[in-house]
Amino acid sequence: MPSGVILTLGEGSVGQLGLGDEVMTRKKPAVVPDISQEEIKKIKAGGMHTVCLTNTNKIYTFGCNDEFALGRPTDDDDSEYSPKLVLGPVTQNQVVHLTAGDSHTCVLTETGRVFVWGSFRDSRGRLGMMKPKEAKTPTELTTIKEPVIDVASGNDHVAMATASGQVLTMGCSEQGQIGRVSRYFNDRGGRRTIVYLLVPTKICIHKVRGFKKPKIIKVFCSAYATWVVSTDGHIFGFGLNNYKQLGFEDGVNRHMPEHVDQFSDIGCVQIAGGQHHTLLLDKHGSVYSLGRGEYGRLGHGTDITQADEPIKINTLQNITSISASSAVSFALDKDGKAWGWGLGTNLQLTTGTEDDVWTPTQLTGRNLETRKILEIGSGGQHTVILAQDQP
């Protein structure tokens, strides 16, 4: 698997840049010095923290640890500002996938086991992780009786697909994002108590007319929404839809999975999203966006401030992956070049100014000139880049 160095930029007041406690802001990508000798193969940006995985299966974390999203003790105040190792049983497993939300982190192992740490939050504050309290160190989801094949994290929820094609969800249900709690019970599970939200539980997906019962193979999350993809290429969505970002033009949230015609028609291979917008990647390498357009996050220029259905971004071609968070968006192409657009306030887009960016603009910086970008992590106020030295 290709590996490289990790670079960060944007706002870093709680240590999410990993550049020490002196650097609070970074306009251009900077190599994280403490782990510049490591061969890093995967990265993920949470809301206020960063996670990375090395070729030798070491997991480093840095950033906000108020709710234990780092999975390691940070008694020494400065240890939030620099990469440090996560320890424990999780490291004895070959990790294949990382996900991160606002205050939690989740990893998937080669054998389909899932470890989580941190906490979910809802409108009342701390919700907990599996129990109504935080998980301070990596903790295995032992109630799942079969291997997990895919995991995704929203701000405060997690969705998983299992080997048999089921979907399990856990976390905050206030916007419908766990797809199994009706709106009347979503206030901390109503009479069913918090544990009902926190334990990974199967969701029920109705079949599409003329097809067999859907077998789910991929899951995607935006901040407050979830989409799952079946072997037939059908896409089902649930969660926040106040700017029609879920794919339904009525603007009504979905608390249970519903087939998203707009997305299935495009044939998405990847879905990413922020608070109020969604990006879709099709198999030809084209990117579509929909939802709220303010501050430029849709990438269609200043004329389009709301898209009720997916609109193709014509300037992007040969895209291999997309990412988004809050009000920013990113796309990466087959040559390792990347584009960003959206809210400029947090300096996440390498432009060096706080101006909003209304059309996809290539990510630049001295530290990117000789490197090929492998992956981009879009955080709440920061951006994380995995890049490989070019010979």
């Binding site: 709710e67 939050r121 809802d122 504050g125 407050y224 608070q275 709220r292 809050s326």
Partner: protein, 208 residues
């Protein structure tokens, strides 16, 4: 939002101060703490906001302040434009012990400035009673936008009165010297006709 005449015939200055910030940072608790005795919530969640009225005097002038609190609308990470309409000051709150609530400050601030480019904004780090050491931390957001910053505790009352007194004074001075175009128009309208006429003017303006 002009001045009104109370039942004793005194001129009363009306002010609107809004609270902003993520869910569960203690916005309502702050307002309730300040108003501790005899506060009057006027509307419950029906309009997705809670309104607290507070009467006071500054330099002998009677003032009636409406504090607007979000009643959960913020969980969708966006407020209805009417929430910002004609506000004269903003109290922007985060939880100093749960810094993930600091993440969205820039989004809230951006939205505030979209509707209210120039009103005074006070930044409040709440819950310092939980961990007093947070007061030693420098939160870059306030410095970056040059916002007055307060370390407060709604639980034990530290600095709560100070924040609200400062917010009222800031709102008052903004009202007397508005720099926002809409405010200037409204200030001019106040010289003509009654508050009802203002409303009609406003409505027709919005329709256009």
């Amino acid at each position: 939002m002009s001045s009104i005449i109370d039942d004793k015939g005194n001129d009363v200055e009306k002010l609107k101060i809004i609270c902003l910030g993520d869910s569960a940072v203690g916005k309502s608790k702050l307002v309730e703490r300040f108003l501790m005795d005899g506060y009057k919530p006027q509307q419950q969640s029906t309009y997705a906001l809670t309104l607290f009225n507070y009467e006071t005097k500054i330099n002998g002038k009677k003032i009636s302040v409406d504090f607007w609190d979000t009643a959960g609308q913020e969980r969708f990470s966006s407020m209805h434009p009417s929430y910002y309409h004609q506000a004269q000051a903003c109290i922007l709150v985060f939880d100093a012990t749960r810094k993930v609530t600091y993440k969205n400050l820039s989004n809230w601030y951006k939205e505030l400035r979209q509707y209210r480019p120039d009103i005074p904004c006070l930044l409040v780090a709440n819950k310092i009673d939980v961990d007093l050491s947070v007061t030693k931390r420098n939160f870059a957001f306030g410095t970056k936008y040059n916002l007055p910053q307060y370390f407060v505790s709604a639980a034990n009352g530290t600095n709560v009165v100070k924040v609200f007194r400062d917010a009222i004074k800031a709102a008052m001075s903004y009202k007397q010297n508005p720099t926002d175009f809409v405010d200037q128009v409204l200030a001019e309208l106040e010289h003509f006709g009654s508050p009802e006429d203002d409303l009609i003017n406003l409505t027709s303006k919005n329709d256009g």
